[in-house]
């Protein structure tokens, strides 16, 4: 490992495929060599893990490769759109594609997802049109998709708040009898997955969600994408122990997975979701990854982290390793790779056009959907503002 600065060393070392054996200075614990679940090395070598046999076909892995490429293209396009003034802001997922696609593809359609504002890859897996995401970042809506149509809740921006929603939703699944059954009553077992980041683990809501999920044994999987940075604050500002170890204190299992390994993310999520469905309660998954871009398009990472750190992580790119694996094992042809690239280009063109031609919402829609029925005070404000706008139209605005 080549990172010299104190801040990033711990994080970077822990993610190495050759984990350190130095005891943690604070806990005295020596990291276990198998703490990072990995099924595909950064070089694209398949490795087996005794707890996570892989049930994917070559076609499945090719489909995941396609997801990864398309999602990155959507992300790249969105950054460009922001730079060109078409979006107000964008939160890039660059570097986290595998964590999101791997976990997203491990879900059943009936499972419920609670995302942060960066889960564009999971949104893709749930069938949300990326244009809907652009609406939010363009300022046309606050989200606006119907969560129940995709079992994908709205993006949540206040850090960690959605972990409690997910836990409550999981408690509802329990009350509906949709957990722990054998399916004999015709009810398909369900579970919930909630996404959050390393910074969120300091939030009270996340810790409360851990308590609730634990004592109620709720069918929820906590999927923490540890991308090493909470805007400018490195992981050691949030925790003195590896994040996955937090779970033990709350009374449920935690594990760390190579967040840049789409196969491992798929496998650990699949297993944790199944455990939740079977009534075994929550799991904390720490997907060890890296935010290769800025926090958002308003952020400037050069102010707080070394460029060399990024170079190290580029070698662990989540997409390159899948391409290398598929090509080397003869599971992907040059034609297939070209098709995916062409499709990515087409998706980029489509969302660019959709974004640039997206109309602003009508002014009076500002008053819609505050309550189930508008209140008298709200109706009065609406009427007054409509009348006010009329005066401009008469003046030939």
């Amino acid at each position: 490992m080549t990172v010299e600065s104190g801040g990033a060393t711990t994080a970077a070392q822990s993610c190495s495929s050759d984990p350190p054996t130095q005891p943690n200075l604070h806990t005295g614990e020596t990291p276990q060599p198998d703490q990072l679940v990995q099924l595909l090395t950064p070089e694209g070598e398949r490795v087996d893990h005794p707890d996570y046999p892989l049930d994917l076909t070559a076609a499945d892995i090719r489909a995941m490769y396609r997801d990864l490429v398309l999602v990155r293209r959507i992300d790249t396009e969105a950054i460009s759109l922001q730079r060109q003034g078409e979006l107000g802001i964008w939160a890039s997922l660059l570097g986290q594609e595998a964590a999101q696609v791997g976990s997203g593809r491990a879900l059943n359609p009936v499972d419920m997802v609670f995302p942060t504002y960066r889960e564009h890859g999971v949104a893709w897996c749930r069938g949300i049109d990326p244009v809907k995401l652009l609406e939010l970042y363009r300022g046309v809506s606050h989200g606006g998709w119907a969560p129940e149509e995709h079992n994908f809740h709205l993006y949540t921006i206040v850090i960690g708040s959605q972990t409690l929603h997910a836990t409550g939703y999981a408690m509802g699944i329990q009350r509906d009898g949709a957990v722990g059954g054998d399916g004999a009553d015709g009810k398909e077992a369900e579970a919930v997955i909630v996404y959050f980041g390393d910074g969120a683990t300091s939030q009270g809501d996340v810790n409360e969600a851990f308590v609730w999920a634990s004592v109620f044994n709720a069918p929820v999987v906590f999927f923490c994408q540890n991308n090493q940075w909470a805007i400018s604050e490195p992981l050691e500002k949030q925790s003195r122990i590896p994040l996955y170890q937090r779970a033990r204190g709350f009374g449920f299992p935690g594990l760390r997975v190579d967040g840049n390994d789409v196969l491992a993310c798929y496998a650990v999520t699949k297993k944790a979701m199944q455990a939740a469905r079977e009534g075994q309660g929550p799991t904390l998954i720490e997907a060890f990854t890296y935010r290769m871009g800025a926090h958002t398009t308003t952020d400037d990472p050069t102010r707080y982290r070394l460029a060399s750190e990024l170079e190290v992580w580029k070698l662990k790119d989540p997409i390159e390793r899948v391409r290398a694996y598929l090509v080397r094992t003869g599971q992907a042809s040059a034609e297939f790779l070209a098709e995916v690239d062409a499709e990515a280009k087409a998706v980029g063109t489509r969302i660019r056009e959709a974004c640039r031609t997206m109309p602003d919402p009508p002014p009076l829609s500002i008053f819609d959907n505050v309550y189930a029925e508008p209140t008298a005070i709200l109706s009065e404000e609406r009427e007054r503002y409509a009348a006010y706008l009329e005066t401009f139209e008469e003046a030939g605005r």
Partner: protein, 332 residues
């Protein structure tokens, strides 16, 4: 008709709600086996089971946050916040999540969550147990904020809140929990006053006196006292209105009264500064300007934190302070 305390009336209303809709849940600290620190949920855990009457871990944000999740799943949770001063840890979940979800989702998501909060002072409690934080929530679009004042309304309003498709912050006047009144627990709610309407509880002609929650009784007592002629002045006819809904406000009932009386006094325990009285004064001035004989006056808590309980009688508007304001309004 049954004679019930306000606390028992809430209990009866919650029981009805649980009976009428299997999706209704009760959740909070000590609401189960204990029946709540004020016994508002007494007996419900025993009769409806721990899956529907849920003793939660001790964290208010967790209570409201998981209630939101349960509502997303199709449930109608009724959360209890044990005391007014304990609601602030849940503020993010209430203000940023609960209140805004319908708007953010363009109407795709409803969150029918009721949050019950015992509020107000007058029980000699230690700090953080006597506050009136209602305006924090009344200022938040997307929430309905109501306060019951007597047992009959408590019984009806809690059921209406639970069946409302908007989130409702339901304030209970804790020092009136033991006040008794006649409650019709049999007829159903078809003829009940809608949740968002104010009620004229005592008609009058000289001054309109507006209050909600614990001060409705105080205002009624003040109005009855003012009817009698004193040595220096003739009796006054005060019209007392229980606002019931703080957000939205029933301006129609308020303005109809003020246009008749020409004078308006608003009383609440919450600080006068930026309180509900300020909003009412502004709206009444705008809508009843040519009917007013006097400025709208306010009586309420001072611009201080809630004082130690040995001083609370100075802080809380009582009959005399309210009548003093009525006198001042009448002196113009």
């Amino acid at each position: 008709m049954t004679t019930l305390t306000l606390s028992k009336a809430l209990n009866a209303g919650l029981r009805k709600a649980l009976e009428n809709d299997p999706k209704v849940l009760i959740m909070g600290e000590d609401v189960g086996k204990l029946g709540g620190v004020f016994r508002v949920t007494d007996g419900l855990w025993k009769d409806f089971g721990e899956n529907r009457v849920i003793d939660t871990p001790l964290a208010e944000s967790g209570i409201v946050g998981t209630a939101i999740g349960l509502a997303l799943r199709g449930y109608r949770p009724v959360c209890e916040i044990q005391f007014d001063g304990f609601v602030y840890p849940a503020t993010n979940q209430i203000v940023s999540q609960l209140a805004k979800m319908r708007y953010r989702s363009r109407g795709n998501v409803s969150l029918p969550v009721t949050i019950r909060i015992p509020f107000g002072g007058g029980i000699g409690a230690v700090e953080h147990h006597s506050e009136s934080p209602e305006m924090l929530f009344a200022h938040t679009a997307g929430l309905r904020v109501v306060a019951c004042a007597d047992a009959a309304d408590a019984f009806a309003m809690i059921q209406q809140s639970v069946s409302c498709d908007d989130p409702v912050i339901f304030f209970e006047p804790k020092r009136r929990y033991w006040d008794k009144a006649e409650v019709d627990t049999v007829s159903g709610l078809a003829d009940a006053l809608p949740l968002d309407q104010a009620r004229v509880v005592l008609p009058g002609t000289d001054v309109t006196l507006l209050a909600y929650g614990p001060l409705v009784r105080t205002c009624l007592e003040a109005a009855l006292a003012a009817r009698q002629d004193g040595p220096n002045q003739r009796g006054r006819s005060i019209e007392v209105i229980d606002l019931r809904s703080l957000s939205p406000l029933d301006m129609e009932t308020i303005t109809a009264s003020v246009r008749r009386t020409g004078r308006c006094v608003v009383a609440h325990e919450a600080p006068v500064y930026a309180g509900l009285g300020a909003e009412i004064a502004a709206r009444v001035t705008e809508q009843c300007f040519f009917h007013l004989e006097a400025p709208v006056l306010r009586v309420g808590g001072f611009a201080t934190p809630y004082p130690p309980s040995r001083l609370e009688d100075h802080y809380l508007p009582d009959l005399d302070r309210i009548l003093d304001a009525v006198d001042r309004a009448s002196g113009y």
